[in-house]
């Protein structure tokens, strides 16, 4: 598989009145063509910033990309002019957001919003663009598509709006679709519809997907590879089956253990102690150390690098931790107070 995108040592910060926010701290990974990458992050761990940085949408000021490269099909996106970047956005990389209502223009019809990209990027005329837009809407499962083109966003339900967003995203056959928690605001039955749709479209359009979510269940069903992020860094990365079956980072392990399972018997949940990291503190040592039941003395000072896990021959499963959780005993007493 050819490499589609390579993110190298990406660093993004925000300079706010309350101090510097260390949003993305030196992350690197590659994404192959047609691959679905699940990015698991909690709020405030740099999830949206990371995708906005790739799209060149970080508001500056206060945000600033301090370093790194995003090589997409041979070009460094971070070095493109805003005019060049505008041509990449929408046509080669598309993005769908959590809340479709805030990302659709409420005073324009859905049809005019979809055809805009088609005319701009694909050079279609009005008639062609409208026909293609209707085709896209029916592709994402909106009945009576031709007529619905003349509706405004408020005339669609939440699930329908998300479908419209996906139709817009797909309009120019992008190579990469970045989905930032696109189903979080939706009900589970609607979420299942949308995920089912995305899977079908992925196979049809052969596009790569970066799917950002805090829901491990959704990521488990959709992704080929997974990045687990904590405090703006990748703490574990690998093929999704391997990361779930042979979890190596204490944070990933903690997340999985703290979830009640529909498919498992009832028992007391094992909680992760403490609070999510304050991103205003620069990272010294391991960012998860204050909450980690496996931490060692050196975790406070030495930041563990992201390296292949011990005992994995493929070299695809990486983690950033000093401890081998298979051998260490967790110390659940005396971990940071609440």
């Amino acid at each position: 598989m050819a490499v589609l995108m390579e993110v190298k040592n990406l660093v993004t910060r925000f300079y706010t009145q309350e101090g510097v926010v260390y949003a993305v701290n030196d992350i690197s990974y590659t994404l192959n063509e047609g691959e679905t990458l699940g990015v698991v992050v909690e709020s405030g761990s740099g999830k949206s910033v990371h995708s906005l940085a790739i799209m060149g949408l970080i508001p500056n000021p206060p945000g600033k990309i301090e370093g790194g490269e995003v090589i997409f099909r041979g070009r460094d996106l971070l070095k493109l002019s805003s005019e060049e970047m505008r041509l990449v956005r929408g046509s080669e990389i598309a993005m769908i957001f959590q809340d479709p209502m805030t990302s659709l223009n409420p005073v324009l019809t859905v049809g005019s919003q979809i055809t805009e990209a088609l005319k701009l990027h694909m050079g279609m005329n009005n008639k062609e663009a409208r026909a293609r837009a209707a085709e896209l809407l029916s592709l994402v499962g909106i009945p009576d598509a031709e007529r619905r083109l003349d509706n405004y966003p408020h005339q669609f339900s939440g699930g329908m709006r998300q479908r419209v967003m996906i139709a817009m995203g797909l309009s120019c056959n992008p190579k990469l679709l970045i989905a930032d928690e696109p189903t979080t605001a939706l009900d589970v039955t609607i979420q299942a519809q949308i995920i089912d749709l995305v899977k079908r479209l992925r196979d049809e359009f052969k596009m790569a997907i970066v799917w950002i979510s805090h829901d491990l269940g959704v990521v488990a069903g959709l992704a080929d590879n997974i990045n687990v992020m904590y405090a703006g860094t990748i703490v574990e990365r690998g093929p999704v089956e391997q990361v779930f079956a042979d979890t190596r980072h204490p944070y990933t392990l903690g997340l999985l253990q703290s979830l009640p399972r529909l498919d498992a018997a009832e028992q007391r949940l094992i909680q992760i102690e403490g609070s999510p990291p304050d991103m205003r503190n620069p990272i010294t040592g391991c960012p998860f150390a204050p909450r980690c039941p496996y931490r060692l003395e050196k975790c406070w000072t030495d930041t563990p690098p992201l390296e292949p896990v011990p005992g994995d021959a493929s070299g695809k499963h990486l983690m950033a931790c000093h401890v081998d959780v298979r051998e260490a005993e967790p110390n659940r007493e005396g971990v940071a107070p609440v």
């Binding site: 609607i190 995920i195 529909l262 498919d263 609070s275």
Partner: protein, 351 residues
């Protein structure tokens, strides 16, 4: 076996009342839709809660699940009389001066009488950012119920608040801090401490963990479970996270468009769901296991939820139901009927 829900709307439950704490019968809450500027006429009603009946047993957690807009939060608020019900009855068991237990009707109570009853029942809110007054210190927030109900002297209150904070896992040292200095999980703990201040026996928890980070949810759920055990609390737990509901609840009621469509003990509901909506809802929950996920057979519903202002004729689920047939399009709606002990379903197919 007592019947937690009567099969007819009017007949009160004549079974064994011993351990029922809250009894809800035929509860309705309709919000009027008005038209006109000066002479407002009612042109319709949003039937947010439409004829709901259930019992809550002492010491149990009853889960109320459903998708957004199904009326689960409105049910919780109407039970507590935070909304005035359109119709129906809500009774809570109370002890009178002679130590005898009897049911008190909340819907007819007013003023001082209702205010006194509020000491028995409290609420934990969904959004810990919106439910705490940013201008009040933690100590004032937690002691506010005590001041309103005029309980304890100042000195005693201070000590009591500190013990409450400790009980919910917060450092009593924080008593003079303000809500913005805390993370979401800590704020939810403050909200819980406030709800506990009057030593209630019944707590409505309206999506108490939905706004929290995944790594924090387990902390709050464990806390709620510990408190229930220590203080013998009864919860009405409103949520849309079905895996969390199974974990925390003894019995679960599934709501769809203002009505309860299925009610059963948790394990029974999750292992043997009978209503097609419950089946679809459970099958839609993603499981954090890639191997199982890739094999999962989802029931994908088509269509969207109808508006509660204009529910379909017949069964409310007939616009999306995969097993609908002729009868489902006719009035009256299917009734909630006990199909096995403790397991109630409102579906023509099942019946």
């Amino acid at each position: 076996m007592t019947s937690p829900v009567p099969q007819t709307k009017t007949a009160p439950n004549t079974g064994n009342d011993k351990d029922v704490l809250v009894r809800v019968r035929g509860l309705k809450k309709h919000f009027p839709i008005t038209s006109g500027v000066i002479f407002q006429r009612q042109v319709g009603a949003v039937k947010a809660v439409d004829d709901v009946s259930f019992d809550i047993y002492k010491g149990e957690t009853l889960g109320l699940v459903g998708e957004s807009g199904c009326g689960k939060s409105t049910t919780g608020r109407t039970v507590l009389q935070l909304y005035e019900p359109t119709a129906g009855s809500v009774q809570i068991k109370d002890t009178d001066e002679n130590g005898r237990e009897e049911f008190k009707e909340l819907t007819t109570m007013k003023g001082e009488e209702l205010r006194k009853m509020r000491r028995r029942m409290q609420m934990i809110f969904q959004d810990p950012y919106a439910s705490l007054n940013p201008r009040m210190s933690v100590g004032r927030i937690v002691s506010e119920p005590l001041r309103i109900h005029n309980i304890m002297g100042k000195k005693e209150q201070e000590e009591y608040v500190e013990s409450l904070l400790e009980r919910v896992g917060l450092n009593p040292y924080y008593v003079n801090r303000y809500p913005h200095e805390f993370s979401g999980g800590q704020r939810q703990r403050i909200g819980i401490a406030r709800a506990l201040a009057l030593e209630p026996s019944f707590i409505v928890a309206d999506e108490p963990i939905s706004a929290l980070d995944v790594s924090i949810q387990a902390q709050v759920v464990n806390l709620l479970e510990d408190l229930q055990e220590e203080l013998n609390l009864t919860y009405l737990f409103i949520a849309h996270d079905l895996s969390m509901v199974r974990h925390i609840c003894d019995r679960v009621a599934v709501m769809y468009l203002g009505k309860i469509v299925e009610l059963a003990p948790s394990n029974e509901l999750y292992e043997n769901p009978l209503h097609p909506y419950t089946q679809a809802l459970l099958s839609a929950v993603p499981v954090p296991d890639p191997v199982k996920e890739k094999k999962a057979q989802r029931i994908i519903l088509t269509g969207d939820v109808p508006s509660p202002a204009n529910p379909p004729r017949g069964c409310n689920f007939n616009t999306r139901c995969p097993v609908r047939f002729g009868l489902c399009y006719q009035d009256p709606d299917p009734e909630l009927i006990e199909v096995s002990p403790g397991h109630f379903v409102a579906c023509h197919r099942v019946q």
